[in-house]
């Protein structure tokens, strides 16, 4: 693996996005607008946004980054640039890390935008440390990117990649504690929910827990990011059978 080639790849991806301002705007603004819409819709129920809002700060970036990453990497395959790169001295780790850094930077901007607007304009009043929510949003964005990279290697077409979204994201959405608290799930589902990355994102936002608890939830998310990146690099095939 070479840091130089990784960063070259990161720069190339950011250059691509610079030439596509619409995608860039959608990436940064859609999660922000969705949280704003939620805040607005809950204005007549005092306190409701304070309990639901933070959880969605983790969910929206995950979905958006998952979709964008899986489609963009799959495009490398269909256009043939991935095959060309595989005839050049670029390792699979360079490729995956290049994407992770580029989209990680975007996720950072996205999470800052969402959390700053939530605390100011949307009127989020939250107990505990505000930066924690920004970190969760960032981790969620990274999770989306990492899983998008891993799953795009399995999908053969962009159509399939888009359909991984309901298959992969929606079950987590049902189990992560947004619909029903995890503690009220049937025991088997609770066991599953406890190890899902999105549950960790929701847990990390739960107010008034010890610092060790938050660090533990962040660790779960980062472990998932790392594992998904390794799987993503592992499932890329230099050679067609």
């Amino acid at each position: 693996m070479s840091l130089r080639r990784t960063l070259l790849t990161t720069r190339r991806i950011l250059e691509q996005l610079r030439h596509d301002p619409r995608t860039l705007a959608l990436l940064l603004l859609v999660p922000t607008a969705l949280v704003g819409l939620l805040a607005w819709s809950l204005t007549n129920q005092p306190g409701a946004f304070n309990s639901v809002g933070p959880k969605l700060l983790g969910v929206f970036p995950l979905i958006v980054m998952f979709l964008v990453t899986s489609v963009i990497t799959l495009r490398e395959r269909t256009v043939g640039t991935l095959e060309r790169l595989f005839t050049l001295p670029l390792t699979k780790a360079d490729f995956v890390a290049g994407y992770a850094i580029a989209f990680g930077a975007l996720a950072l901007v996205q999470s800052l935008l969402v959390s700053v607007l939530s605390y100011t304009w949307y009127g989020l009043a939250h107990q505990g440390v505000p930066w924690r929510i920004s970190v969760v949003a960032l981790c969620a964005g990274l999770l989306g990117t990492a899983f998008g990279l891993a799953l795009s290697a399995v999908a053969h077409t962009e159509f399939q990649a888009v359909q991984f979204m309901p298959a992969f994201i929606l079950p987590q959405l049902l189990l992560c504690g947004l619909v029903i608290p995890v503690s009220q799930l049937p025991s088997v589902l609770r066991a599953v929910a406890d190890v899902l990355p999105m549950t960790a994102a929701v847990h990390a936002i739960t107010p008034l827990q010890s610092n060790e608890y938050y660090v533990g939830q962040f660790a779960i998310m980062l472990a998932y990011v790392f594992a998904a990146l390794v799987v993503g690099a592992g499932t890329l095939r230099r050679v067609t059978k």
């Binding site: 190339r12 256009v79 043939g80 060309r84 790169l85 005839t87 670029l90």
Partner: protein
């Protein structure tokens, strides 16, 4: 795995004998090599001998042929491509059936055949991105797909395989960076493919022919010793096509081994050597003139038809 097995095979040292020493009048019809096996005993390997009549040599060949030939004798004695009994089965279909050929530095080889004949699969096997079922493919002394070859084989796929949402220059600059080439190489390559005035245009705004030139530009980065070009001239206007072939000829003249595939038989006349592929089998390996002579045909399409009929 056959590919893994061949890494351990002892490689006999190859000594190329200038063709004149073998037969002064025959060009590219008989490749004779002395293989010095590990026991030191020389073994002579002879390959296909094909008819050749100087009288039928079209004038178009005279210049590149002569130049290519002198380079072949001067340059290194290693084979660029050494393919033996290459077999590729994909999804139960036998795409390539026992392909064998050798190529030396400075050769411009036309890989011709109808679509579906296995040209792209053969090229992708040489690049190491297509798994090989049987036989072997060695490129510059390494097994196809070896990390040592990455960046030493210029590749132009049928799809343009460049980033549509980057400018010409950004594309070339990225690939040059991956290849650790200086910025001067970026400008040089853009100039070679005549895209200097387009260098700040997004590739998505370019025509098919211009995109093909961007792709060729990437393949030319770092002047690789071997180039594999998959239908680079398809869909291009005649002037552009002629210019591209001139580029390929000049690359071969500087010592690169260039394999160019095409399904247009007329492009045969441009190559010093032809490989005709049909249904995964090599039907012919020789000069364009010897193809016409052997089949007593007036044109390349007719020669190809006769070859097929002769087989049946």
């Amino acid at each position: 795995m056959p590919r893994a097995a061949s890494t351990t095979r002892p490689t006999p040292k190859r000594v190329r004998i200038p063709r004149e020493m073998v037969d002064g009048s025959i060009w590219n019809s008989e490749v004779t090599q002395v293989l010095l096996a590990l026991d030191g005993r020389p073994r002579v390997r002879r390959q296909r001998a094909a008819e050749f009549r100087t009288a039928q040599l079209p004038s178009i060949f005279s210049y590149p042929l002569a130049t290519v030939r002198s380079i072949q004798m001067d340059s290194s004695d290693q084979l660029t491509f050494e393919v033996s009994n290459l077999r590729v089965v994909r999804n139960g279909n036998e795409i390539l059936k026992s392909i064998s050929f050798h190529a030396v530095p400075g050769e411009l080889i036309g890989l011709l055949g109808p679509s579906g004949s296995g040209k792209s699969t053969l090229m992708r096997s040489l690049l190491g991105v297509q798994a090989i079922t049987g036989g072997s493919a060695r490129i510059m002394e390494s097994i196809a797909g070896s990390p040592l070859l990455r960046g030493r084989l210029g590749y132009m796929a049928q799809s343009s395989a460049v980033y549509l949402d980057l400018t010409v220059e950004e594309n070339i600059r990225y690939f040059a960076g991956v290849l650790t080439q200086p910025l001067s190489e970026v400008a040089r390559v853009i100039d070679v493919v005549a895209l200097t005035s387009f260098s700040h245009r997004l590739v998505s705004s370019l025509s098919g022919g211009e995109r093909a030139r961007v792709s060729l530009g990437v393949a030319l980065l770092g002047s690789p010793p071997a180039l594999i070009l998959d239908e680079p001239t398809v869909g291009l206007d005649p002037i552009l096509r002629r210019d591209l072939w001139r580029t390929f000829e000049s690359l071969a003249r500087t010592g690169a081994t260039v394999i160019v595939s095409s399904h247009v038989m007329d492009e045969a006349a441009r190559c010093a050597r032809l490989l005709l592929l049909r249904e995964g089998t090599l039907l012919f390996d020789g000069t364009p003139a010897s193809l016409l002579a052997a089949s007593e045909a007036t044109g390349y399409d007719q020669a190809f038809e006769r070859l097929i009929e002769g087989r049946q």
